[in-house]
Symmetry: C2
Subunit: 330 residues, 2 copies
């Protein structure tokens, strides 16, 4: 009997007192333990799932995956619709949303309440509504590749999967879906435009000298490269709230000594701006937008004291998608 | 007076005799001179033109131009029709016609009688009708690039100009208009085919692993490389009178460690075989042709003890040719 030694103490009353005391001590210990566990964070089932997914995500090689950077202003309905699409794209490592809605809280809570999500999405609250916010160095960015998309642009998953595979073969160039060109004139002043403008050179067809970054893959090192550019370049972008993409093409062309980008013809890419309820329709609708783009080209030529942009007429499509798109008359 | 001193000689008769003598000497000299000029080669106007053109042609940089190698058998009507087209292609340096019509004289005289021609055309009489004759090292070949075309294939000039510019950007690969692939099967035995065959891999679209040399640009060094291959490879081509192009793709893929070719989608390429009066319709109409191609793949895998072919799904087109071929719905 456990209490034999204790029971030999003076009388039964002493034994019962000790027993009661022991029980009280045990109870108190249990209560303390219970209180302590209540202080521990609650590990809900979905958090466990998220933990497992995070481990898997970290395991995904940052060479074989890319980070989506999407800057957004005043079109949160489009943003969320697009995030639902992009979050499911293969080889996506993470999404960084550059939240340019100053003073308005980013929808972290809403996002989390609608979880779980396939990949992490980070909302980066900005201090000022600047076009070049999306070209910062983000500490959360772990991949070699960036996918940069405007917050009104829906690019189909097959297009993204293919374009990413093309970028992996040409990692020093912007691989994207929107080609543009600069056009020289006899006065030496350049103009900015698209296919409606005079094709440079004397051969057949057209040429492009820029691939716009708002629907493209490019090397994440180029964000650092952008940060290191002369202050005049950053000032130009801030003054116009435009031309960050033209500047990136200048910078990259100058850096690699060849054409800055490769155009991949999209099979299915849509602009959703007409679908927003915000009433906001995007910077390119401003009256001065196109003239600003030409202005930027000439300013950048001044700043860099050269025209580094180079022409290309290479258009890449995916062999056999859509089906038999390479069949010819023979 | 000129004759004053002579006129003082005895009498007028002496003066007249000397004058006559002088005239006779002058006449004889003129006749001799005239005879000499008649011996000089007649410089006709068109030869002068040819001389000027030859100087221009030698001046054309052999880095910026290419040599057309066209092998021909029993389709001289097609050959001559095609030569009329190809001789005018920009950046063409020279044509080498591999004359596989053994015992029949090459049409040098006919060709010359229909001159002048923009570029030199050399007819190389062969000693045996072999498929791999066109893969010899030709001493007349001066350019870095070869354009190899079958003698029934008409490729439009814009297609050639564009594909050559693509080859200049990817000079270690076959840049051409006819893609094919090998298909693995669960038995490990390969089959050869085109778009109708199962696309390899699990993604969208199709892949190709070979670009046929009979409508392509490739580096002229690869002719030497072909000559250096194991005798078994040459024997395979001789036995089948087929597969020289499959062999070239094996060799090049092995050599560069990446996909052997880049497919450029032709805008306007025709096969003229139905237009020949010779009654001869080309090797690929033989019953066993396709099976032979699969056979060759497996034999080459044996010979090289590896499958060096690599898949690609990159299809290149010329930006803006035909007009606005890159417009998309937005």
């Amino acid at each position: 009997m456990l209490c034999y030694h204790i029971c030999k103490l003076p009388g039964r009353v002493m034994g019962i007192r000790v027993l009661r005391f022991s029980l009280v001590v045990i109870l108190v210990l249990l209560l303390v333990a219970g209180a302590l566990t209540a202080l521990l964070p609650t590990v809900k089932e979905d958090k466990m799932l998220m933990l497992r997914r995070e481990i898997k995500s970290r395991g995904k090689s940052t060479l074989d995956s890319f980070t989506l950077i999407m800057q957004t202003y005043n079109r949160t309905d489009l943003l969320l619709k697009l995030l639902n699409h992009y979050q499911a794209v293969p080889n996506l490592h993470k999404v960084i949303v550059v939240w340019n809605n100053i003073g308005e809280k980013a929808p972290d809570e809403l996002w989390n309440s609608l979880g779980p999500h396939p990949i992490p999405v980070i909302f980066k609250q900005q201090t000022a509504n600047r076009m070049r916010n999306r070209l910062q160095g983000f500490p959360e960015l772990e991949t070699n590749a960036v996918l940069m998309v405007d917050d009104d642009t829906l690019i189909s998953t097959p297009d993204l999967v293919f374009a990413f595979s093309v970028w992996q073969q040409f990692p020093d160039q912007i691989v994207g879906f929107v080609p543009r060109k600069h056009v020289p004139t006899s006065s030496g002043i350049y103009s900015y435009g698209s296919f409606e403008m005079q094709a440079p050179g004397s051969g057949n067809g057209d040429q492009y000298s820029m691939v716009l970054i708002g629907a493209s893959f490019f090397n994440s090192k180029y964000l650092e490269l952008f940060q290191r550019q002369p202050a005049a370049v950053h000032a130009l972008i801030d003054d116009t709230q435009n031309c960050d993409d033209i500047a990136m093409n200048f910078i990259i062309a100058k850096h690699i000594g060849k054409t800055s980008g490769i155009f991949v013809k999209p099979v299915n890419m849509d602009n959703l701006e007409k679908e927003t309820n915000s009433g906001y329709s995007g910077m390119w609708h401003r009256a001065e937008h196109a003239l600003q783009r030409s202005y930027c080209i000439n300013k950048l030529v001044n700043i860099y004291d050269s025209m580094p942009l180079k022409y290309s007429n290479i258009m890449i499509s995916q062999f056999g998608f859509p089906y038999a798109n390479y069949k010819r008359k023979m």
